[in-house]
């Protein structure tokens, strides 16, 4: 599986979770800012995928950093903040469950971090970091 194919797979799973209520973005924080300007909240954001390849063994891994965000703010009340975290944790759980069902995606161990006020749009929610071992194309 190529990185581009993986990105497309993640996008499709994310769009399935959002079901029209929100948008998916992949890229750096500058393009994320523009995407939020254009499409609002919530947003599932994917950092550009980076990884490692061992040519001899054919092993390939992809490091994924994914954010599930709503609009936060400096003055967000504690109860509302907790509600955002809860909603986005549930969304991420649904996402990961669906991703794991895809062909070639094995067990996923995720490092979760609560995120508050990321970028000028004060994106708030949960970030998931994990590494995927990608299936190798034997035929080119």
């Amino acid at each position: 599986m190529t990185y581009a194919a993986l990105e497309d797979l993640i996008k499709q799973v994310a769009l399935g979770i959002l079901n029209g209520a929100g948008h998916f973005h992949c890229g750096n924080d500058e393009s994320l800012k523009q995407a939020v300007e254009d499409h609002g909240y919530p947003v599932i954001h994917l950092d550009p995928i980076a990884g490692t390849r061992n040519i001899e063994s054919g092993n390939k891994t992809a490091n994924i950093a994914l954010g599930f965000f709503e609009q936060g703010g400096e003055d967000t009340a504690s109860a509302e903040l907790q509600a955002i975290y809860k909603r986005q944790e549930l969304a991420s759980a649904e996402f990961l469950s669906m991703l794991q069902e895809e062909d070639g995606i094995g067990d996923i161990t995720v490092r979760d971090s609560l995120v508050r006020n990321y970028t000028v749009h004060q994106l708030t929610g949960i970030a998931c970091e994990f590494t995927l071992k990608l299936p190798i194309n034997l035929c080119f």
Partner: protein, 168 residues
């Protein structure tokens, strides 16, 4: 900055604040600061991360725990003497000796003498021109090297992404 970079720096900030707070609260720098006051100083430590800046902050008094308290320049409000008295009681230090009238020295008198020395000559680390390591044990050249390595790796990925976008 990329989400992954922010997460790394957040973890670094949390780790540094935790390490600094622990050292500040538990290290007796020989300046007669009671535990409760050290804990207040420890609680003042935090970090801030923005798009362009990563900073560790804390009470102005924090640095005196690293380099020692300087001799007093202005008139104090008796805080040093109160801290010293609290420290003496906390540590169970028993005054010995007698005053000029032959009366046994009590805790209050001992606190007075110690605080007078602190006011006149500064704290022990200051007098000995030594760093206690409360801060420099955590924030030092080794840490800077680690941060540089972390940022180099993170920003190499980011710069590559910007270049890809620019050429797309």
């Amino acid at each position: 900055m990329l989400l992954a970079t922010k997460l790394r720096l957040d973890r670094l900030g949390e780790k540094l604040v935790s390490q600094l707070s622990e050292r500040i609260a538990t290290t007796d720098t020989g300046q007669y600061l009671p535990r409760a006051e050290r804990e207040k100083l420890a609680a003042s430590v935090g970090y801030e991360l923005t798009d362009t800046e990563f900073s560790i902050y804390g009470s102005e008094y924090l640095y005196t725990q690293e380099t020692g308290r300087r001799p007093t320049v202005n008139n104090g409000d008796g805080a040093v003497r109160r801290y010293v008295l609290a420290y003496i009681r906390e540590e169970g230090i028993e005054p010995r000796g007698q005053d000029r009238n032959g009366m046994p020295i009590d805790e209050g008198t001992l606190a007075y003498f110690i605080s007078r020395k602190l006011h006149e000559e500064g704290g022990k680390p200051w007098r000995n021109r030594q760093h206690t390591g409360v801060i420099s044990g955590v924030i030092n050249d080794k840490l800077i090297e680690q941060v540089e390595a972390l940022l180099t790796e993170a920003y190499t990925a980011e710069i590559a992404e910007y270049l890809l976008e620019a050429t797309a």
